[in-house]
Amino acid sequence: MTSTVSFLTTKPHIIVIGNGMVGHHFVEQMIAQGGHDAFHISVFGEEPYLAYDRVHLSEYFTGKGAADLAMTDGSLYDTHGVRYFTGCLVIKIDRGAKQVMLQNGESLAYDKLVLATGSYPFVPPIPGHKRDNTFVYRTLDDLDAIRTCAKQVTRGTVVGGGLLGLEAANALKNLGLETSVVEFAPRLMPVQLDEKGGAVLKEMIEGLGVKVYTDTATKDIVDGESAFHRMNFADGSHLETDLILFSAGIRPQDALAHQSGLTVGERGGISVNNHCQTSDDDIYAIGECALWNNRIFGLVAPGYAMAKSAAGHLLTDFLGLAGVTFTGADMSTKLKLLGCDVGSVGDAHAQSQGCKVFVYQDEISQSYRKMVVSEDGKKLLGAVLVGDNSYYDTLLQYYLNAIDLPEQAQALILPAMEGAPVGLGVDALPATASICSCHNVSKQDISDAVCNGALSVGDVKGVTKAATGCGGCAALLKKVVDNALLALGVEVSTDLCEHFAYTRQDLYNLVKIGEIKTFNELLKTHGKGHGCEICKPAVGSILASVWNDYVLKKEHISLQDTNDRFLANMQKDGTYSIVPRIPGGEITPDRLIVLGQVAKEYGLYTKVTGGQRIDLFGATLSQLPEIWEKLIAAGFETGQAYGKSLRTVKSCVGSTWCRYGVNDSMKMAIELENRYKGLRSPHKIKFAVSGCTRECAEAQSKDIGVIATEGGWNLYVCGNGGMKPRHGDLFAKDLDDETLVKYIDRVLMFYTKTADRLQRTSVWMDGLEGGLDYLKEVVIDDKLGLCAELEARMQHVVDTFQCEWKTTLQDPEALKTFRQFVNYEGSDSNVVFVEERNQMRPATESEKQQLIAKVG
């Protein structure tokens, strides 16, 4: 920074002190309304970073870096001429001279000043609170210090059992510490929860292995015997711990207001009016440092609302209209703390005059819910939820919009029973209903955005910012958007993308009937534009399903997603994993040794997959052909783990070895895997074959499941494990081998022909009109007269199978694309491995930095 920090033009100058979330939001609001044209704006932040997402601070411990949490990389400021200074503390305001003074002694004149200095953590003045290994939880630097300390110790304690304290406890637990929470009040989260709710939460948290002390005052902190500290409690007991984290509430950072003589509250906080002006008209205060109506608002949403009203007021003349005023904010909140749902709405403590209460408690599944209603039972005044927040959205809408409660209002907190009224439909919400409280977006705002052409959730998010704060309203937002689209009469589009106004099924038929062999041909005849990452792989897959060409042919190569293009699975660091086919999971010792030798030679991380094969991780692009050369020489084939195609046929050992086996599941599994291994389908397909009803191969959780019976094979279809498990439906019983294969041919081809892109069989079945019975009619009774064609198509795929890696190794043009760089023989220096449990794994960001630091 230079010492001449004046502007040449005469635009008035706004200085924003503080670059936290609220300070940043203020600048965003100014820019959004053109305020950067009316004012010069300068921003000063004390921390070395630009504004970052403090709400999700804990994610810093679960893999996110400072850049992930950053609200901006500075480009927003640069583009709009906002000057910013990080690591730059303002120490004094001279209101008479209208100047601020920086720590380095420089002064800067302002016309308007915005204080967004936030808060600081309150550390109770317990003797010993300044000992080593004591921390607070507010900034990235705090978290770095905690992480460093946690690496060397085993026990951690959080002082404070409020919202932030529990968040911090979760972080300590994630850092691997034996964690305790000490709370002065008789219950956890005393502000948000009532006694019973606090007790349920305590029980749940203790169930997760965190020790909770409530109603406990710490007398002093001294040297421990078995740990670094000993905390002596007022009741004479004590706790030994290595690390102490104070999270006993926040205090407004109002030092500059005190220094410059602005009016501050008795217990701190810079007094502001409805425009967020302080006692000096030219100075505003927003966020956690501001005291409005004798209240401090320690959540981000009210801070954003203040930022908006301050920006609106400053721009009143410029825009020629008055902005919104700040008139308080709702402090309802929902959170997941240590994995436990906690929600609090409005008057959680039932303090309103004459109010009545409904309570539901379930000690078995550990949940507690309370509704506070008005004396006449018509309005919801508050609520407490512990254990299950799925009730929150509906309750909040009743509360915020003062909607009349339905008869039998208690149903709103009762578990869903058959026939009970479901949650409030979005139809019932008034237009003023607040959907996103972080950015104060109403139902009306969303409808307006949709009317103005934002026809998807993504677009609406972009226009309104809804669901981009804490994200808690995302599900509700989707419902409101869908509802608005419906109201507009917009048919929710089933077009594949902007290039093809067809569904995947339509395109499949067009390709087949028109004998279309390339993407460009299809685009020219039935599409428009140049294609995208949605339609290219989808059409690539259809072409492969129908014609079964080599996927790396010149005209197909640019259609393939990276995994298909390089015939391997890209991992997070850009290296690949390799999965050779091991049909049915049966492998000879010799082949197993080859896998071991190859893995060893290339230093690949080796893991057995859930599909009974072996995955070799960490191969670079240029190593792939070499490795495959060796695998193919040993008799392996590609496993197509990279493709939307058949993955594996999992199997138990079957009747050859197992005393319970009633049929040779191993043989059947190998035959099926070899039959369908070349099929390209809308999504991946998994099979399993069990040799008896004990079902060791878990066939009922697969797309195609086969279980041996005394009378042959039972066929199950459209099961799924994964994200949304679904049991397979029993499709046919006691089939002989031939009929089994025939039915599977038909089911798979019918799926490949009619499913949407990236639609698993389970979802396809759920959406299939007529469901299982219809599928039986098509496949068994040949209702559509399709069976012969389906079988012939499958036979074509079977007959034209090729190992893509074998083909690739014989094709010098294709091999060329596996070079790491076109003009350089070296490797990617960002691929760095470290050793863990005797194998290699990618280094984390911080490990990389350390390694680089050592080298540098």
Partner: protein, 111 residues
């Protein structure tokens, strides 16, 4: 002022409708060959700032809202080939001027 061009590779080293990686003065550059476009070749950084890996050359090329973009193979964010601008996030990655002259591919200094 004339732009100092660096010869990177031959046209035959490129993949039609897709990208390849090149090393230019210690920086990894993703070079895309899009025959349908006016410029034919584009060069942006190979570094995906969201996925944090050198992978953009291995993404799918798409044409969205009148712009040529690449979708990151890791988390699918789009980067405009002509400017490095990310369509989903407020991020812009380095890009270079690039040209195809005869069968030679050149790029210039940072834009």
């Amino acid at each position: 002022m004339t732009t100092p061009w660096t010869l990177i590779c031959k046209q035959e080293d490129l993949v039609e409708g897709a990208g390849v990686a090149a090393m230019v003065s210690g920086e990894q550059v993703a070079i895309f060959y899009v025959p349908e476009s006016e410029q034919k070749v584009f060069a942006i950084s190979n570094w995906d700032p969201i996925g944090k890996a050198n992978v953009l050359s291995r993404g799918l090329v798409a044409h969205l809202q009148e712009q040529w973009v690449v979708a990151s193979p890791l988390y699918k964010q789009h980067f405009v080939l002509a400017s490095g601008q990310c369509l989903e996030e407020d991020i812009k990655i380095p890009h270079w001027q690039a040209k195809l002259e005869g069968s030679d591919v050149f790029i210039a200094a940072h834009l």
